[in-house]
Structures are given as structure tokens and as C-alpha cells.
Amino acid sequence: MTISLGLIINTIIHGIMLGVIYATIAMGMSLIFGVMGIKNLAHGDFAVLGMFTSYWLFSLFNVSPIISIPIAFTLFFCVGMILTRCIFKYIVGEMLGSIILTFGLSIFMENVMLLIWGGDYRNIPVEYGVYRLGTVSVGGGYLVAFVSTLVLIVLTQLFLSKTKVGIAIKAVSQDPEAAESLGISADMIRLVGGGLGVALAGCGGATLSLIYYIYPYLGILLTLHALIICVFAGLGNVAGTFFAGIIIGIAQSVATIQIPYALTPVVGFVVFLLILLFRPQGLFTRR
């Protein structure tokens, strides 16, 4: 395969689009880590649930995947609040406990999905055409996913930086006790933060279903991608995940030019291990 400029530009653009979706999922994880100190290892499974939501809404009620993105957001916001109320509340700030419990949750969810929906690879058969601009050609599905993800990320950022609740979420992330002493109910904020975090995962999953196959065991891969992006940006640094996601996305896409497709996830993991090895101080942006 000859490497032309057009090919490289094309891969980079696809990398950015994929990276932004990963960033949405990672943002939710980062938010949950910030508010509750919980590393949610079941995060990718919520994204897969989001993908299935989109899939079933399409195949049962013929709902367009674009409309199912806000539906997934609302649904998973509720799921996240219930989850925070029932499980996360008891393991706030507990490192060993949170890793182990969310790991158990992940095993449980993945296998329940496998039991109910089987192990087939599915996709949503929607065509949005292909758009061309010079040497660059982009699938319509990618374009729709990219635009809706950007809207989602901008809205989330506005919510976190402009509204009172958003600022309270940041305050609780920085110092829960100081925030409580200023009259912020940390429990309430954790409820909202947990809801929003899971909602971002579900929503990211719903967008991802436009361009990716759907499979119950995909969750662990998505969790790993989200983790890599989170660590890259610094744990709990919500804004940084956007750029980290894009960088990881580009790195993986460009790697596909040279190495076999099956090996592309390795690039992300190697980046992750290299960060741990060489820039551990960069990981502690929050502290």
C-alpha cells in the first residue's frame, strides 16, 4: 500500500472523529472519578448498553439513531443516579473497594448482555451517504456522530463551567469537605455527577453505534480506551480528556496504515504504559 498525502489526511480526520467519541466516554469516567474518587471499570459496559439502546430503538421502533442519542442521555442519566444511590455511595474514595466492586459490576453486566442478546456482532443498517471534499472522503455516519458528539461535549462543558450545579460539581471534585462547609450538599452533587458521568457513557455509546459494530464484550475495550484517555489527560481533569481523546484517536488511526488492524489497540496501551513510565508527574494535574 502506497502512502499518499490524501490517505494520511483521511486517516487523521477519521482518527479525530473516533477520538472525540472516545473522549465523551472518557469524560464521563473522569467526572465520576472527580466527584466520587471511583475508577468506574464498568464504564465501557454502560457505553455498550447505550449502543444496544440505540440498536433496539432502531430495530423495534424504527427510531433514527440521531434521535436515540438524547433518549440514551435521559435514560442513562436516571440509570447513573440509581447506580450512585445504590452502589457508588458506599465506596466513595475507596481505591480497592471501587476497583473491585465496579469490576464485579462489569462482569455481571457483560454476561447479562451476552445472555439476553447473544454474542452476535450487530450494526445499525442506516446509510447517510459519503461526502467528498478534494481527496478527503468521509462517511455520513462518521459526520453525524462527530457533530452530535461535539454538540454534547460543548453542552457538557457549558454546564460544568456556567451553571451553579456545574460549578458545585467542580467544587466537590476539588475538596468535598470545603464544598460542604460552603453549603453544597456533596451527596446531591455526587448524584448529579454520577448521573451525568453514566449519561455521557451511554450517550457516547449511542453515537458510537453509528460507526462501530455492537457486541456485548466490547465494554472492556471501551473501558480501556477511556482509562487511557483519562490517564493521559490526568485523572479527574474533565476538560483535558477532549484533547487526549483526539490524540489517542489520531495515534490509533495513523497506526493502521503501517501495522495490522488487529494490533491497533496495542498503540493506545503502549502510549498508556509510556506515560506511566516517563511522565508520571504529568498524571497528577489535579493534585
Binding site: 452502589i87 473497594g97 473491585i100 466492586l101 454476561n111 451476552l114 482509562l227 488487529a262 496495542v266
Partner: protein, 328 residues
């Protein structure tokens, strides 16, 4: 002193029962098979337990050490003439390969606080799995078939490795050895230092504990045990592959096993992994037989059980038993 005596007697009785038990159930190969699996997974779980329970660093990638132990044995028997006839030294070599990987990951992560170790082991396992999957040297996705070790003749009897009995003893001895090592370590000065790190790393370091060195030591022992368990598993089952399905030695499914077993049995206790392993293998096998057509059923039950037990007691079933029954 009296308590110690009773404990020792009970350990001796259990050992005698375990050593003579096969003669009563030797015809029931399925039961022996389950016991071998119990012992191998108890060994693996004990190695995880050393890190999570005594050092407070949960690994989510023990499949890496387990699988690489298995692959070391597999590759040695595949390529080197000597090991084709005598794979047993490869058990130890598998342990060393696991330990080297463990040291590499430990050196990367143990200078950092927080959940980085768990995440790095998770990522490293997937990296190694994908490399093994796509490399021709390791026969890729086809996996490695490990040939049957030739039988050993002694003046009194012949050890035939096509039967289950030799594996029963080998896995039992391996398990006892690993439990013994972890027990000795946890009771020793090092064990106390490790537990002080788990409780409060800053305070421990203020008192002059070299946290990094001690964590690396624990990591070495843990990944060595896991590597030996993996090599033993490989030679017992006779086939290893890197696929993503349950059963592939380098997958998350293998990493899940020690976590499930230790949490259910009791993390941070010596006997916990054995209790957990018995429950995991026996109940898991029962569920697999009853719901065989739906592969994930046993993991659903165990995922739920796991969360429930963790909520009830952070020390697992052994913790619950110990708080209820005072005289143990």
C-alpha cells in the same frame, strides 16, 4: 500456645486427608479433575491475594503472569528438544518469566499512588494478548497443543501422566507451597511492613519503610506463583490459546478468576483463596452443566455473588465465618 497446637493438628489432619483422598475417589476422574482445578486456581488466587490483600494493590491482569507462565512452558516444549521429554523444569521457568513481567510492571507503577497499578496490569495483559495472537512464533490464534509428558518409571511404581492422579499431587503440593510462602511472608517482619504500607503508605515511609522495594518484592513473589500456576495449568489442560473467549489463558476471563475467588473466599486471609476456589470451581461447574447452552451464566451468578459478599463483609466468606464463630 494451646491455640497454635490445635491449628497445627488441624493442618496436619487436612493434609493427610488430602493426600489419601485420591485412593477413595480414584475411579471418579471427574471429581479428581475438579480438585486439580480447585488447587490450581487456589494457587493463582493466593498470588493475587498477596498483592491485593497484604499490599493493597489489586491487579486486574494476573492472566498476564498466568498466561505467560503457560506460554513459556508451551513454547519450550514446542521448540526445545530437552523439554519435550521433561516439561517439569519449565514450571519453574514459567514462574520466572511471570516474575520478570511482574517486576517490569511493578517498576513502572509502584512509584505512583492511586489506581495506576490496576489499570496498567489491565492494559499490559491486553497488549501481550494481542501480540501473542498475531505472532507466528507463538502459533497465533491456533494456540499451542502441549504434548503429554512421558511417564516416569521409578523402582516401585510408574507415574503415568495420562491419568489425573499425578496432577492431583503436583497441583496440591504447588498449592501448599504457595500458601506456605504467603503465610510465612505475611507473618514475617516483611509481611507486617507490607501491611503497614497498605494501611498508610505515608506513615510507613515516615518510619523508614522502603515502600517501593517491599512492593516490588511482593510483586516478584506473586507473579512467580502465578506463572507457576499458569505453567501447571497449561501442562494439565494440554492446550493454550490467546483467543478472547472464556478459556483463553491471556484473557480478562482468567484475570477475573483470582479476583472472584479471593473476594468470595476472603481477601487478606490465608485460607480464603482455597474456600473461594472450591466454591468457584464446584458451583461454576454446576452452573455450566445446568446452563451449558448459555455460556455466561456462571459469571452472572458470580458477578452478583461477588458484589453481594463484598458488601456484606470486606473479608469474604472466611471473614463472615470468623466474626460469627469465635473459637476458630
Amino acid at each position: 500456645m494451646k491455640k497454635l497446637g490445635r491449628k497445627n493438628i488441624s493442618i496436619i489432619i487436612i493434609t493427610i486427608i488430602a493426600l489419601t483422598a485420591p485412593y477413595f475417589i480414584v475411579s471418579q476422574t471427574y471429581l479428581l479433575h475438579l480438585l486439580v482445578l480447585v488447587f490450581i486456581f487456589a494457587t493463582l488466587a493466593q498470588s493475587w491475594n498477596l498483592l491485593a490483600g497484604y499490599v493493597g494493590q489489586p491487579s486486574l491482569g494476573h492472566a498476564l503472569f498466568f498466561g505467560m507462565g503457560g506460554y513459556t512452558l508451551g513454547l519450550l516444549t514446542l521448540y526445545i528438544e530437552y523439554f519435550k521429554n521433561n516439561p517439569w523444569p519449565a514450571l519453574i521457568l514459567g514462574g520466572f518469566v511471570g516474575a520478570l513481567l511482574g517486576l517490569a510492571i511493578g517498576a513502572m507503577c509502584f512509584r505512583l499512588r492511586g489506581p495506576y497499578f490496576a489499570l496498567a496490569t489491565l492494559a499490559a495483559t491486553e497488549v501481550v494478548r494481542l501480540i501473542v495472537m498475531n505472532s507466528e512464533f507463538t502459533l497465533g490464534a491456533r494456540g499451542i497443543v502441549i504434548r503429554l509428558p512421558p511417564s516416569i518409571s521409578t523402582p516401585f511404581f510408574v507415574i503415568d501422566f495420562s491419568e489425573k492422579l499425578p496432577y492431583y499431587y503436583i497441583s496440591f503440593i504447588t498449592m501448599i507451597a504457595s500458601f506456605y510462602v504467603v503465610n510465612i511472608l505475611s507473618k514475617s517482619r516483611y509481611g507486617l511492613l507490607l501491611q503497614s504500607i497498605r494501611e498508610d503508605e505515608d506513615a510507613a515511609m515516615t518510619l523508614g519503610v522502603n515502600a517501593f522495594k517491599l512492593k516490588i518484592l511482593a510483586m516478584f513473589i506473586s507473579s512467580f506463583i502465578a506463572g507457576v500456576a499458569g505453567a501447571l495449568y497449561a501442562v494439565y489442560v494440554g492446550y493454550i490459546d490467546p483467543s478472547m473467549d472464556p478459556g483463553g489463558v491471556l484473557t480478562l476471563f482468567t484475570s477475573i478468576e483470582p479476583v472472584l475467588i479471593s473476594i468470595i473466599g476472603g481477601v487478606g486471609t490465608i485460607i480464603g483463596p482455597l474456600i473461594g476456589s472450591i466454591i468457584r470451581v464446584v458451583v461454576g461447574e454446576y452452573l455450566r452443566v445446568s446452563f451449558g447452552w448459555r455460556a455466561g451464566m456462571d459469571l452472572i451468578v458470580f458477578g452478583a455473588l461477588f458484589m453481594l459478599i463484598f458488601f456484606l463483609s470486606r473479608k469474604g466468606i472466611w471473614g463472615i465465618v470468623k466474626t460469627r464463630i469465635k473459637f476458630i
